[in-house]
Subunit: 242 residues, 2 copies
DNA sequence: GCTGGTCAATTGTCCTACAATATACACCCA
DNA sequence: TGGGTGTATATTGTAGGACAATTGACCAGC
């Protein structure tokens, strides 16, 4: 028998069944063994394959659902389907997280709006270089909607979100687009609290100016127009800040 | 009996028990009925109070764990404890999400590094205005570590992350700090692949220059120094990009 | 006073069964 | 022949109970 010299005993951390199942499934999806939209085996089958019980499988699947990797649908044609994970889903999760942190009090709306400026000005700049015709069309369609609407339309913030998000993605940088959508969404509750007709009109005029600069591929003009727009708009979004 | 004119019948969406429990607990925490660090009732008790079974409660709690709102510890003194949710937790979740999206192929590292530039230059600028002495001390201590280490130190990326994160939070904007930490973390795998002694030394010199500008409250100089540093560093982080 | 073992509360996992759900398909009636 | 209608069925959702694992607290003994 070897003398007690326990050379290099590994002692890898014990992992609970639930985590092992979750990790294996996550890896399988990320490695492409299950493509987007594919249906993974039913829970009973997975339980058999992993040698664990169905509740354990369910907890693992639940974690993947929370992570946005899969979605579950009940019914005979149901099952666990691999989600198409895109920057959009990141944006959604991000804005939810920011909401809770703001609500907890560990983040101010003012900090979010400050980041908005940091993100949206370069976005306008890059959009002037990289925009496609579809991007321009999207911005125009939002502006048309804004023109047609009235002050009591509850969807006014939604239009604004769509406009700025369109510019974000027109920058050609999907991460930048996702960030902009998220920070914009998180500032919604504090925005357009008492929008007047004049404010709405001026907002639309500024939007038009931004699109014009982007369409004619003038990065500096686009950045300047966006800067001016944010200057104007953000003063209406923080009733209780300086 | 009223003539069949069913005026304004509600038909609110049916909600599953699991979601109701999750929503109620989430609201209770966010409304402050449970403070940070508080222990909520054991699962059996919650099941009784809600009138559902323990598995249902467990699924709801599991979702809250995934959301980072609570953590669960086993054992006699265990239970579900309310997490202190901060921008840090957002940063963690964010970098994980970006990792998976990159792995799926819906995001390029190049896009992340581009956003890094957008975020870190204003951060340096603001840090020059808002930094505390503790911030400066933290940056200095990281630099000291970097000076002492050798090329084969596996923690080199970790030092760099800490340095840039310190600047992010020194900006006084917690969201900006969290974003910087996340994007920096997500670019780690592609960074410092073959760092040479010369590169390490130059990196340290640039770090020193950045701290000097921040400490002497020169926003423009800090921004310029950061810009130069990113120019230099990012060329070593993308072996397979132009 | 310190070390060690036992206890108890709580979560983790398992089993089994039933309820709810939603598609697919046959069926009936016009 | 066509369209709605009911029914079968596969799958997830919920239930309830039982046991294993974990870990701090308490207690006994040296």
């Amino acid at each position: 028998m070897p003398t007690g010299s326990d050379n290099k005993f590994k002692a890898r951390q014990v992992t609970r069944p639930r985590d092992q199942v979750e990790q294996q499934l996550r890896e399988a999806i990320l490695d492409g063994h299950f493509g987007q939209g594919d249906k993974l085996p039913p829970e009973t089958e997975l339980a058999q394959q992993f040698g664990v019980s169905r509740p354990t499988v369910r907890e693992a699947l639940g974690a993947l659902v929370s992570a946005g990797l899969i979605r579950k649908v009940p019914g005979v044609a149901g099952g666990s389907f691999v989600n198409s994970v895109t920057p959009d889903s990141l944006s959604q999760m991000l804005s939810e997280s920011m909401d809770t942190i703001v609500r907890i009090g560990a983040l101010d709306i003012a900090e979010i709006t400050a980041v908005r400026r940091v993100l949206e000005i370069p976005a306008a700049q890059w959009a002037a270089r990289n925009r496609s015709d579809a991007d321009i069309a999207k911005m125009r369609s939002v502006i048309e909607q804004q023109k047609r609407t009235t002050i009591d339309d509850p969807d006014i913030p939604e239009y604004d979100l769509r406009f700025h998000t369109a510019i974000g993605y027109a920058s050609g940088n999907r991460l930048l687009g996702a960030f902009i959508a998220a920070v914009h969404d998180a500032t919604h509750p504090a925005q357009f609290l008492d929008v007047t007709s004049d404010v709405a009109k001026k907002t639309i005029r500024q939007h038009i100016a931004i699109v014009a600069a982007i369409e004619s591929s003038e990065p500096e003009a686009a950045a300047a127009a966006m800067n001016e727009h944010l200057d104007y708009v953000l003063q209406y979004s923080l009733p209780n800040a300086s």
